[in-house]
C-alpha cells in the first residue's frame, strides 16, 4: 500500500471512497489502462489539509506522472452514483466559486484544480476526443466501469481549461449516466471565470465540456445497449437537435439524448 501526498491545500473537505479508477501505468507495456482500487485515507477528513491517497497497488504515486482521479475528492460519505452526491458536489463547487469575488482568486483556484487534473495518456489527445467549440483545445474521454458508472478523463492545452475540466470531473466522474445527463449548464453558471453573463457562448469551456461529457455518456449507454439488443438503425445524432428519432420507442440512451436536446 502506497501513500501519496498532494502538496496543495484543498478548499473542499474530503473523505473516503472506495472505487475503481482508470490509471495509466507507464511501466506496463501491456494494456495502457489498469483498473485499480483506490482508497482515500480514512483518517483525513478536513479542508485545507494535504490529501493523502492510499490504494492497494504497487505503483508509486506521483501526481505529475500518473493518473489521479479527482473524483476521489468527494465531499460526503454517500456512495457514488447517488444523485445527492452530484448535487452536493455541485452545490459546494458553485458556492466555492461564488465566494471568490476577486477575479484573480477565481483564476488561482482554477489553476489549483488544474494541477489536480490527472495526466492522461497521450492517446486521449485525439481528434475524436476533441471538444467542439472551445477557444482552447480540450479532449474528453469517457467509459463505463463495471458498475455502469461513467468514468471521465480530460486534458487541455490551457491551464484554465484544465481547471474547468478538473471541476467537471470532480462533479461527474463515477456518476450514473442519468445523473450526468441531468446537470444543466445553467447550474454551473457561477463557475464562469473570465466570462460575464449567463448566455451560452462558444467560448465557454465548461459549457462545451459538459455537453461533450453528456453526449459521450449517451453514446456509451447507446453502445452498451446495442451489445445487449439488436442494433439500432440510426446512429447517435451529432447535433443537439430533437429529431423524429424521439418518436420511436425510447431506449435508455434515447431518453438521455432527449434530455440533452431540451437543455
Amino acid at each position: 500500500m502506497i501513500s501519496a501526498f498532494l502538496n496543495t491545500a484543498l478548499p473542499l473537505s474530503f473523505s473516503s471512497s472506495s472505487r475503481s479508477v482508470k490509471l495509466t501505468n507507464h511501466n506496463d507495456p501491456g494494456p495502457k489502462r489498469t483498473k485499480l482500487k483506490f482508497i482515500i485515507n480514512q483518517e483525513r477528513k478536513f479542508a485545507f489539509m494535504p490529501l493523502k491517497c492510499i490504494w492497494n497497488s504497487d505503483l508509486e504515486w506521483n501526481a505529475r506522472n500518473h493518473s489521479f482521479c479527482v473524483s476521489c475528492l468527494t465531499a460526503t460519505e454517500v456512495p457514488l452514483g447517488s444523485s445527492e452526491v452530484v448535487a452536493d458536489r455541485l452545490g459546494r463547487v458553485v458556492s466555492e466559486f461564488r465566494s471568490l469575488t476577486e477575479p484573480i482568486d477565481r483564476v488561482k483556484r482554477l489553476l489549483h484544480y488544474a494541477a489536480l487534473l490527472p495526466p492522461v495518456d497521450e492517446s486521449v489527445r485525439s481528434q475524436e476526443n476533441r471538444v467542439a467549440g472551445c477557444a482552447t483545445q480540450v479532449w474528453v474521454e469517457a467509459e463505463l466501469d463495471e458498475l455502469g458508472r461513467v468514468r471521465f478523463g480530460a486534458d487541455s492545452d490551457s491551464e484554465i481549461s484544465k481547471g474547468f475540466c478538473s471541476c467537471l470531473i470532480h462533479l461527474l466522474d463515477g456518476a450514473e449516466p442519468e445523473e450526468v445527463a441531468k446537470v444543466k449548464p445553467e447550474d454551473l453558471a457561477d463557475l464562469n471565470v473570465g466570462l460575464h453573463g449567463k448566455a451560452h457562448s462558444r467560448v465557454i469551456t465548461w459549457h462545451n465540456v459538459l455537453i461533450a461529457m453528456q453526449k459521450r455518456t449517451a453514446a456509451l449507454v447507446a453502445g452498451s445497449e446495442r451489445e445487449r439488443s439488436p442494433p439500432l438503425e440510426q446512429s447517435f445524432p451529432s447535433s443537439l437537435v430533437a429529431t423524429a428519432e424521439a418518436q420511436i420507442p425510447q431506449s435508455r440512451w434515447q431518453k438521455l439524448d432527449a434530455n440533452l436536446s431540451r437543455s
Binding site: 489553476l111 494541477a115 477557444a135 491551464e159
Partner: protein, 474 residues
C-alpha cells in the same frame, strides 16, 4: 464668448470622474492634462465628426487617439476594477456618439420600411437608406452607387459572390486562388461552391518573412484561374497584399478578383477603381458602424450578369406563379426588408471617418503599429506572427503572438480579469494559417485610431505581469 467645440473637446478629457448613467466611467484625464469643463458636456459637443476634424487642424500637439477618444463613451469605463483598455478592434470596433445618435434618430423619427410605402416616413427612410449607399460608394470610390449591395455582413457578401457568380461561372478543373491566411469566411464559401462545381481551390503559402508569398501567388495564376479571392490586410499577420499588382496579373488571364477588405477599409483609404478589383467586401461593425450590415462592391457589368442569391421581396420585378423577373442590381441581391437603420448608421460612421480623413487615420495607425510591435518585442519568450516592420514593410496596427508555454486564452483571460485589457485569443477564424504556423491558437491585440500609445504601454505592462503570474505556477 461661449466655448468652442475644440475647447470643450479638450477640456472634456481632463475632468474628474463623471459617471454616465449605465456604466462606470473613468477619468479621461488619464490621456491629457488640460481644461476644466465637464466630461458630460465634452462628450455631447465632441460627438460629431466636425469637431474632430476642426480640432485636428488646430491641435497639433495632440495625436489622433487623444482627440477622438471622447467620441467613444464606451471606452471610458472600468472593467473588473481596472480602466478598460480595448484592443480587440480587429474583431469589432467601437461606435462614436455620432453613430449612436443617428441610430436613435432613425428609430425615433422616421423608422419605416423602404422602397414600399408612399407615405412621408417611408420616403424619408428610403432617401436616407439610399444616401447611405451613396456614402459607401463614395468612401471606396465606386463609380456608381448601384455597385454597392447591402448585405448582413462581409461573410454574406462573399457567399453571395461564391454562389451567384461562382455557380454560374466555375466549371470542373477551374481554379480559385486563395491564401492560407484567409479568414474562414473567405475559404468555406469557396469550398462549398467548389464541391458543387468541381472547381479546384489553390492556396498561396507564406514566405520566409511570415507574409503571404506574392511570388507564389503570381506563379499560381494561369489560364485555369477564374477568380483570385484574397484579403487586403491579414487579420492575424497584419501584412498587406499588393492588390493592384494581383489584380493586374489576374486580369491578364481573364480571372476576377474578390477583395476581402474587412481589415483595410476601416483603417486606410481604399479605392476600388485604382485597385481595379472586381468585387470587394467589408463589414460595417469593424468601421465604427452598427453590426448586422456589410456591403459588397461589384463592377456593374458583373452584378448585372449575376443571378439572384436569395429569393424574396424587393429583389423581383414581377412574380407569376411559374416564374419571376428579377430586379436590377443592387435590389436583385437585397431580398426582403434590409437592415435599414443599420445601413443609415453605417452612413453616419462613414461621415465620421471621412471627417477625420482616412489618410490621417492610416498615418496615425502606422505609428501605432510600429510602437505596438516594438513594445511587444521586448516581452521575453514572445513570438509575434507576420512580417517585421521596416522601411519597406508596413504592418497594420495589430499583433498576433504567443508566449512560450502559456496558452493565449489563459493570457487573454488574465488580462481581462486582472487588468481590464481586452484582447482576442483563439484561431481568429484562420485555422489553416495557424496550422501552417504550427500553433492551434494565438493572442491578438488590435488597435484603431482611438487607441493611444498609453494603451499599448498598459497592455505590455499587463502582459508582462500575466506572464510572471503563470510562470509562477510552473
Amino acid at each position: 464668448m461661449p466655448p468652442t467645440p475644440l475647447q470643450l473637446f479638450s477640456s472634456a478629457m481632463e475632468t474628474a470622474i463623471h459617471k454616465l448613467p449605465s456604466f462606470k466611467t473613468i477619468n479621461p484625464s488619464f490621456y491629457t492634462a488640460r481644461g476644466t469643463a465637464s466630461f458630460r458636456v465634452g462628450l455631447r459637443r465632441s460627438s460629431s465628426s466636425l469637431s474632430v476634424s476642426a480640432s485636428a487642424d488646430r491641435e497639433g500637439d495632440q495625436d489622433l487617439g487623444h482627440r477622438t477618444r471622447p467620441d467613444f463613451p464606451i471606452l471610458h469605463q472600468e472593467v473588473n476594477g481596472s480602466k478598460l483598455v480595448y484592443l480587440d478592434n480587429a474583431a469589432t470596433s467601437q461606435k462614436p456618439t455620432a453613430v449612436l445618435k443617428t441610430l436613435q434618430n432613425y428609430y425615433e423619427s422616421y423608422n419605416s420600411n423602404v422602397h414600399r410605402g408612399i407615405h412621408f416616413l417611408s420616403a424619408k427612410a428610403t432617401d436616407e437608406y439610399e444616401l447611405a449607399r451613396k456614402k459607401v460608394a463614395a468612401f471606396i470610390n465606386a463609380s456608381d452607387a448601384r455597385e454597392i449591395v447591402f448585405t448582413k455582413n462581409a461573410t454574406e457578401a462573399i457567399n453571395l459572390v461564391a454562389y451567384s457568380w461562382g455557380l454560374l461561372n466555375l466549371k470542373p478543373e477551374d481554379e480559385v486562388i486563395l491564401t492560407i491566411a484567409e479568414h474562414h469566411s473567405n475559404i468555406v464559401p469557396w469550398q462549398l461552391v467548389a464541391q458543387k462545381t468541381g472547381a479546384i481551390l489553390k492556396y498561396v503559402t507564406l514566405n520566409e518573412n511570415g507574409a503571404p508569398d506574392i511570388g507564389n501567388l503570381k506563379q499560381m495564376i494561369s489560364r485555369k484561374t477564374k477568380i483570385v479571392a484574397v484579403h487586403h490586410v491579414s487579420n492575424m499577420l497584419a501584412s498587406v497584399l499588393p492588390i493592384e499588382e494581383i489584380a493586374h496579373w489576374a486580369h491578364d488571364v481573364g480571372a476576377k478578383v474578390l477583395l476581402d477588405a474587412c481589415q483595410s477599409v476601416p483603417h486606410m483609404a481604399v479605392n476600388v477603381q485604382s485597385l481595379d478589383v472586381d468585387f470587394l467586401v467589408a463589414s460595417s461593425h469593424k468601421m465604427c458602424g452598427p453590426t448586422g450590415i456589410g456591403f459588397l462592391y461589384g463592377k456593374s457589368e458583373l452584378l448585372s450578369a449575376m443571378p439572384p442569391f436569395l429569393g424574396g421581396g424587393e429583389m423581383i420585378s414581377d412574380v407569376y406563379l411559374d416564374h419571376s423577373t428579377y430586379a436590377e442590381p443592387p435590389s436583385r441581391f437585397e431580398a426582403g426588408t434590409p437592415a435599414i437603420g443599420e445601413a443609415i448608421g453605417l452612413g453616419a460612421a462613414i461621415d465620421y471617418l471621412s471627417g477625420i480623413g482616412m489618410q490621417n487615420i492610416h498615418d496615425y495607425e502606422l505609428e501605432l503599429a510600429n510602437y505596438l510591435h516594438e513594445s511587444l518585442r521586448a516581452v521575453p519568450n514572445i513570438r509575434i506572427y507576420g512580417p517585421v516592420p521596416s522601411g519597406s514593410i508596413r504592418r497594420a496596427a495589430l499583433c498576433s503572438f504567443n508566449v512560450d508555454n502559456i496558452h493565449p486564452t489563459d493570457i487573454a483571460t488574465f488580462l481581462d480579469q486582472q487588468h481590464g485589457v481586452a484582447i482576442r485569443s483563439g484561431h481568429h477564424c484562420a485555422q489553416p494559417l495557424h496550422r501552417s504556423l504550427g500553433v492551434s491558437a494565438s493572442a491578438r491585440a488590435s488597435l484603431h485610431f482611438y487607441n493611444v500609445k498609453e494603451d499599448v504601454d498598459d497592455f505590455v505592462r499587463a502582459l508582462k505581469d500575466t506572464v510572471s503570474f503563470f510562470n509562477s505556477y510552473k
